[in-house]
Symmetry: C2
Subunit: 306 residues, 2 copies
């Protein structure tokens, strides 16, 4: 068993997509050897994980697609981890934009894996942390993590990626104050996508002023205009990413933040293991029609007896 896992990791590190897919499946389904694989990984690897996030309609999938074209043209090896939205109520993961990536499913330099967010209501699937760490141990030039659609948490992706791209669309321009609040802290690069639209120039200018005000001693966060559907601005975006990593210098502060967020989420996942939402629903169903049902007393009792 131990030798098998060691062998699997060696193959993953050597670049075998088959071994990588096996490793991910191991982790995704808690199969035997899962813990050993994780504990054998290099978890303070050199950075190369790029997160793409932003509101629905910002064209995140199209940006991923365009970056894949750009990078594979140059001979880079790229992994894409696509996180699909799943309903909190039906536990189903829906496809959709994934289809756009179909061009690459037979490309030897591109590894694509879609993941559901199943399990954590509104939260990132805790498996994504583990799976990203497995993929980090394979010899990719870049790992792209994309969150799609509504219900994804834009800030969570920042805890996973070394470089977080925040994609915005022109129409968001008039609400720049609202956006400013959460997003300035997580963005390493801003993209104004659909930059051929009327309001693009105003959003771009507002973002430039914002990053300039924020920069102080540090260098300014780049703002890149793209029209991903027409492949415009993609080489500029790629250069901004490369330049980000050139200047990354493995900042200890950011690395520590990243490790802490990841560890926090792993602990949370561990603590909730064994608590089954369906079983919980069944217990509540039995209890809540009784007179004097109180959710807090119920939760208290549940925690004591579980």
């Amino acid at each position: 068993m131990q030798d098998k896992i060691k062998q699997l990791l060696t193959e993953i590190q050597a670049g075998s997509f088959l071994a990588l897919a096996k490793g991910i499946t191991l982790v995704e389904n808690d199969l035997p050897g899962y813990g050993q694989l994780l504990q054998s990984l290099n978890t303070t690897h050199q950075p190369k994980v790029v997160g793409i996030t932003g509101p629905p309609g910002a064209g995140k999938s199209t940006l991923v697609n365009a970056l894949l074209h750009e990078w594979t043209k140059k001979g880079c090896k790229v992994a894409v981890i696509a996180v699909d939205p799943s309903s909190p109520f039906n536990y189903g993961a829906l496809l959709g934009d994934r289809i756009r990536l179909a061009d690459f499913y037979n490309n030897d330099n591109v590894f694509i894996r879609s993941l559901a967010t199943r399990g954590a209501l509104g939260g990132l699937n805790p498996k994504i942390i583990e799976i990203t760490d497995v993929v980090r141990n394979a010899p990719f030039d870049y790992i792209l993590i994309e969150t799609v659609g509504v219900g994804q948490s834009e800030v969570e992706i920042a805890g996973l990626a070394d470089c977080t791209i925040v994609a915005l669309v022109p129409e968001a321009g008039d609400e720049i104050q609202t956006i400013k609040a959460g997003i300035m802290e997580i963005a390493d690069i801003f993209v104004v996508n659909k930059a051929d639209r009327d309001a693009a120039e105003s959003l771009y200018r507002n973002l430039k002023i914002m990053v300039h005000e924020k920069s102080r001693d540090k260098s300014e966060i780049p703002v890149v205009k793209t029209v991903a559907t027409d492949n415009k601005g993609i080489s500029e975006l790629s250069e901004a990413i490369i330049s980000y990593f050139d200047n990354f210098h493995d900042s200890n502060e950011k690395k520590l933040q990243l490790l802490t967020e990841k560890c926090w989420q792993l602990i949370q996942h561990h603590k909730m293991k064994g608590i089954d939402k369906r079983a919980l629903a069944m217990s509540i169903k039995d209890a809540y029609t009784k007179p004097n049902f109180n959710l807090y007393s119920f939760t208290d009792t549940f925690l004591k007896t579980y």
Copy 2:
């Protein structure tokens, strides 16, 4: 002590804003009597919680503002719980849109409370569940919960509210497929805000087709066009909400889902109590520069020794 909490709850139930504010502060800061207050609440109350969610820039605060005007004109008592975005890295909550609600701070029929999302990275502050239950015990006609900005999880609000309004802006129209995935499950009412914009008609039509396809036996989810800044469409929205509650009939299925989601989040909050993120960061800081540091072994040891 026990009598004091009983007295406080009686005053909350009688409509005292002062008592309500005290009760919320009790819960927010884990003050003595906090558990007793929660366990004395009626937690299967009649529905009246309206959640407003949607991408940044959709005008959620303006909608809340317009609904407040509409309802107070009719003599309704309304509570607003506004959830501000907070950065995952600086733990700060930012104001902003809150200022628009300033008109109502001295209105005897309007109770407003802003909450930070501090604590759960990318997640809803677990206190929001408890605070909403406290507010539910006060005699309001409506309780509005609004999430603002980026990083909020649109699906989590659905676990809190009896009626979830999803606000969209015209520009999202071309990405209707992306939106479709997660949002159809959580929306009880769609709002096309900023409906005076060019693309509004197309978004509206697309949404109508979508809800029609989804409806089957059930009645169609209403789609309401608004220009919240000009107060247009607000009475129609208000009517859609009233009609939703008229037809709510306290669906046992939805009630059970709501209770289960809330209980799940309370359990998660409880399990993570006592784990301090800063202390965790300090431990990781000591460990991660050592050779052979592995995040999964570290987490394992942390869980065993904590």
